[in-house]
């Protein structure tokens, strides 16, 4: 080692010797100006470790090294040192190596490494919290939806029954208002739940064969009344070149078109609403269609065009609605891998065009369209209703008994249902899904799996529920049910399902 290097080296090292009491008996003061006769314990709290070292010393071990210790004297910056203690009888030799710069250089690497790991781990936790919040929100919405839909089913059902009684003019008008408001409430609940599922990514489209012309007629019929009531001209048109038998999510297609027509109706005071479906192009497997809803309403300005597809967006705050309709339309169209186009001029009107590519069905008409499943007159069928909501149970009884074709028994639990089917022959079971102990799904599984008697094992089962979970129909079928109906349902929807299931069971 040359003289210069030797000097540099020694400037980075300090030798200190202390006695048993910690009094400094030698110090070269190269790094720290600790003086002979000073107490090492006063020099820095680190040196209080000496007491422990004296206890730890043994015949095998009398040297202890502490790497990377921050030592500081007065207001000077810390030095980062390796400190070695050699404990021998009566005195302790301390060698202090100053490696400040080397350690600081090394620390840059560990700082970067630590920062990146910390960020990743924090992000993981944040994601976890977000997922938990999202799940809670979705569960809450699903639960509240169920709680609200169940009484609404009764309200809507009883309104339908009330409509058929002898009402005077004023009562009829009041019933119409209640009906409109409950329909509106049902739409809001539906929108809330749909948007929640779409946003959370838990929304799945169903695939079924359906007849587009039939869907077109249904939509025209259900919207004709409200549109003409507003003294608007309802123009409708369907392309004759269309292959009507398609595969897709009929319910959601209905929802898209209904939302667009409902939106047009809200913003059109005079003139017309036009609904048309056109074939754009087609192959043997697929067909591209354009669904157009046009109106002569207030129109949408350029700056509002992007905003109207956002949640809770309403051009006119006085207009009733959840403000979710067009957002749902856009999301559903996107899930169907389609496109929505908007042309509009303020004061002239708006034109929404939905372009979708749908699979062609094999050509056979759908079962529901082809058949009407009329039950033979004069014959009566016994039905078991399994429903723990007494109002809904009462509603089902009223609707079914009013047809004159059914005997109806009602129970409130799956256990009671099992007893009933063992004692009496039923042609159909209508069961709620959310029962108290065994669920409707479990009841269906038990009936399908535990009975050798085909009269029990093969009873058709119609599941009903206000639960807004995805793929309820598929879940019901998987559990052994024959069909599923969401609450709230209309009398017509219920009877269609009931008649169909009994008809098919009797024509096997």
């Amino acid at each position: 080692m040359g003289d210069e290097n030797q000097k540099k080296f020694y400037k980075k090292v300090q030798l200190v010797t202390v006695n048993e009491l910690g009094k400094i008996i030698y110090s070269d003061a190269n790094l720290f100006s600790w003086n002979v006769n000073d107490s090492i314990y006063e020099a820095h709290p680190f040196f209080s470790i000496i007491e422990s070292l004296k206890e730890a010393v043994s015949a095998q071990e009398n040297e202890f090294t502490f790497p990377c210790v921050h030592l500081k004297e007065g207001k000077e910056a810390s030095r980062i040192c390796d400190v070695t203690f050699t404990v021998s009888y009566g005195e302790i030799n301390i060698v202090i190596f100053d490696y400040t710069q080397a350690y600081l250089d090394l620390n840059k690497i560990s700082q970067e490494r630590n920062e990146s790991i910390i960020k990743a781990q924090e992000l993981e936790f944040t994601n976890r919290l977000l997922i938990e919040k999202e799940n809670f929100k979705n569960d809450f919405i699903a639960s509240i939806n169920h709680e609200l839909t169940t009484p609404l089913t009764s309200v809507k059902g009883f309104i339908e029954l009330l409509e058929k009684t002898n009402l005077d003019y004023e009562q009829e008008e009041l019933v119409k208002i209640i009906k409109t408001e409950s329909d509106h409430l049902q739409n809001i609940f539906g929108d809330m739940f749909d948007i929640s599922r779409i946003e959370s990514g838990g929304f799945k489209l169903e695939e079924e064969t359906f007849n587009l012309k039939e869907l077109f007629s249904t939509i025209v019929n259900s919207n004709k009344g409200p549109i003409e009531k507003q003294a608007l001209n309802f123009k409708t048109e369907i392309d004759n070149k269309l292959n009507a038998e398609l595969i897709g999510d009929k319910t959601r297609l209905y929802q898209i078109i209904s939302n667009l027509i409902s939106n047009a109706l809200k913003y059109t005071d005079e003139g017309f609403i036009k609904f048309s479906i056109n074939r754009l192009s087609g192959k043997s497997s697929k067909q591209q269609i354009a669904i157009v809803v046009e109106d002569s309403g207030i129109g949408i300005s350029e700056e509002d065009k992007a905003a109207i597809f956002e949640s809770f967006s309403q051009l006119n705050p006085n207009i009733k609605g959840s403000g979710l309709g067009l957002n749902i339309v856009r999301s559903l169209v996107s899930l169907m891998e389609g496109e929505i186009l908007l042309e509009s001029k303020v004061g002239v009107g708006s034109k929404f065009t939905v372009v979708l590519s749908l699979k062609n069905a094999s050509g056979e008409e759908t079962e529901e369209v082809k058949h009407h499943y009329e039950l033979p007159k004069g014959k009566k069928y016994r039905i078991l209703v399994v429903e723990n909501q007494l109002n809904t149970q009462y509603l089902l009884l009223k609707i079914l008994l009013a047809q004159g074709s059914f005997f109806v028994d009602a129970v409130s639990s799956a256990e009671a249902a099992i007893k009933a089917i063992e004692n009496r022959e039923y042609k159909l079971i209508i069961s709620d899904i959310k029962l108290d102990e065994l669920t409707g799904f479990q009841l269906a599984q038990r009936i399908r799996n535990q009975y050798g008697d085909v009269a029990i094992k093969n009873i058709p089962i119609l599941g009903i529920s206000a639960l807004r979970a995805p793929n309820m129909t598929n879940k019901a079928i998987a559990a052994g049910m024959d069909a599923f109906l969401s609450k709230p349902f209309s009398e017509k929807q219920l009877l269609q399902k009931v008649n169909r299931l009994i008809y098919l069971a009797n024509h096997k």
Binding site: P45, S48, P67, H70, Q111, N114, I118, Q121, T126, R128
Partner: protein, 164 residues
């Protein structure tokens, strides 16, 4: 007056807030900037306790390691107490905590051990408790070096335990 000196080592994974707790307790200061601790920094805080004891608490703020046994073993020599700190918002800093605590108990059977979840300011206490329960984490304190919540209480508790 009885004067005692006790070594308290802060250990745990990196970035959990050991230095922040150390600075909050010693100087009542907090910084949001993260600077990874290099080696060990040692400071003394003198506490006069209710029973008249003047306790010099020698705090060793050690650099973070996910696994204590991988750290510098000399830093642990002579510790009268350990504060095992984890970050409530980073599951990786506590999911193997029982192994770490076992290591300390086995090697330092007479030392006081306090298990502390830090960064309580970053998450609701309810959520923190639920998550820790999910991972079966037994803790002594949930603290926030940022707000100072439960920091004084933690070290006061240690002071009592190491002088008993």
């Amino acid at each position: 007056m009885i004067k005692l000196s006790k070594k308290v080592a802060l250990v745990g994974s990196f970035g959990v807030g050991k230095t922040s707790l150390f600075r909050r307790f010693i100087d009542n200061e907090f910084s949001t900037d993260y600077k990874s601790t290099l080696g060990v920094q040692i400071q003394k805080k003198v506490i006069t306790m209710d029973n008249g004891i003047e306790l010099s608490m020698i705090l060793w703020d050690t650099e973070g390691h996910e696994n204590i046994s991988e750290g510098r073993s000399s830093y642990l020599i002579g510790s009268h107490a350990f504060v095992y700190v984890f970050d409530i918002t980073r599951i990786d800093t506590y999911k193997e905590i029982n192994t770490q605590i076992e290591f300390l108990k086995n090697h330092f059977p007479n030392a006081v051990i306090k298990i502390v979840g830090n960064k309580l300011d970053a998450v609701s206490k309810k959520k923190a408790i639920e998550t820790l329960k999910e991972y079966s984490v037994q803790y002594d304190y949930l603290t926030s070096a940022k707000t100072g919540d439960y920091v004084e209480e933690l070290f006061a508790d240690i002071a009592v335990d190491v002088t008993n």
